[in-house]
């Protein structure tokens, strides 16, 4: 497997664009229920703090701060684009699907219908050391989503 299959152009672009980056600058949208999660990859020190806000039965906003490799940053950016506008159950389904592909060591193909741009991370599943990089923001989103929908606002 070549390096270009890991670092697809869409990943390199998102690692620079960082959609959703800038948590501290933005407050929780009025009327939304939110949850926030901090995740750390102790192997490389990559960190993310991510907030999911739910309003009117939908994910109204996803914002995050973090530092890390191109895979972890691009993954958070792609997740932001995907998550906003989904119902909480739909986002959970997308997260489950992403996790299944990433943990499959290349055995499970990504379904672009479900994962959209996140399907580009399929190749990461063949690099065991990088799976955590790609999963970092998604683990944070799952945790934050759980808080937001349980109504336990963890706004800081």
């Amino acid at each position: 497997m070549s390096l270009d299959q890991l670092y697809q152009q869409i990943i390199l672009e998102h690692s620079k664009a960082r959609h959703g980056h800038g948590l501290s600058a933005a407050g929780v949208p009025a009327g939304a229920s939110s949850g926030q999660s901090h995740q750390l990859n102790p192997v490389c020190g990559d960190e993310i703090t991510l907030r999911v806000s739910v309003a009117g039965g939908k994910v109204s906003e996803l914002r995050w701060d973090g530092e890390g490799c191109s895979i972890s940053m691009a993954s958070a950016s792609v997740l932001t684009d995907l998550a906003e506008g989904l119902e909480p159950e739909e986002l959970q389904h997308v997260i489950d699907s992403f996790r299944e592909v990433l943990r499959s060591r290349g055995k499970v193909s990504a379904d672009p219908e479900i994962l959209g741009d996140a399907a580009a991370f399929e190749g990461v599943s063949r690099y065991a050391a990088r799976v955590k990089c790609a999963m970092l923001s998604w683990v944070a989103a799952e945790d934050a989503l759980g808080q937001a929908t349980a109504g336990t606002s963890a706004d800081s």
Binding site: K16, C44, D46, C69
Partner: protein, 435 residues
Amino acid sequence: MVATPAHLLRSATALGNEEVLRIRNDFPILNRSVKGHPLVYLDSGATSQNPLSVLEAEQEFYEQRNSAVHRGAHHLAVEATEAFEDARETVAAFIGADPDELVWTSNATEGLNLLSYSFLNASLPGAPAEAARFALGAGDEIVVTEMEHHANLIPWQQLAERTGATLKFIPVDDAGALDLDAAARLIGGRTRVLAFTHASNVLGTINPVSALVSLARAAGALVVLDACQSAPHLALDVKDLDVDFAVFSGHKMLGPTGIGGLYGRSELLNAMPPFLTGGSMITTVTMDRAAFLPSPQRFEAGTQKISQAVALAAAANYLSETGLSRIHAWETELGRRLVEGLETIPGIRVLGPAAGQERIGLAAFDVAGVHAHDVGQFLDSRGIAVRVGHHCAQPLHRRLGLTASTRASTYLYNTTDDVDAFLDAVAGVRGYFQA
């Protein structure tokens, strides 16, 4: 007193590429390819590779001598014990110690934990009077440095927390050198332990051992040296360095994993309470009490790492026969080539001493706009193995304003071609990641 090891007497003529190519034939793994490229192994600072003589020593032990040591009267037990103790003699001589001053551990981390826990045991109520010199309590201070590997930091953090002692650290300057003025202020009457690394696993800095030992001696503090990054690369003489304790790991010096050593001055080891207790480390045992053997058995409870010790002795012999001073001279050339080469590449910041300053044969660096993980992945695609991350030195990286870096570390089997292949690849990193 141990005779000066042969490797200390050799001239310091550096190895050359031609000789290194012959050396490489002794290391089977260096012939393999990775992702269609010949392997360029520049991660010996993490784990070094093994020459055939080391692999054969371990196999020969299992095929001919495998048995428990220091127990049993049968012939294999005798031969195994001899091989085990011969290995101790060889490795002790390699670092300039007497055999009874070398305790086998699993690695340097275990050696440092052994010290930390033995000092803790000495600090508990009811500890024997002879152990008082290791006891710590409120008001006492342990001093480490800001460049320590976590292995030489966390055991001391834990010891301070459990005894009420205070942990202090000697800061590093922007060039990665210890602030010796600060050290002189920090090390004083309250200092009971000074623990520091001989050579930094990130910066490559070689620390001024004698200056630090002088400060510790004046304060009456015990000196613990982390020799993980020096024992494989420099001719080490613990007596000459005048430290009280030193630790090293076998797998960083051509030996197998699972074996390392703790050096301690004999009188200290024999006064120090044991850490692990059980079989093989006792004299008389009743249902209530036990009396302990002298060093080194005192600290070697349970069945030991026998084949690993035998193989580590083969590694020490390999290094001695090649000549540590020649290895060091060669690695110094490779280190200089690494630093000078990296400094010509735009966007690269080399950590530690500037080009021309003394450093062991490694270089860690930051690439502007590209995370170390991505740098490592790019190099891996060309068959080049380096270390990425915080290298178990988070406080040092924080001091340097980084969370991670990339490190290339050389050993006696690396050629200038290895360094050049690495530099060529690094030059392509920022372009690939559009940084």
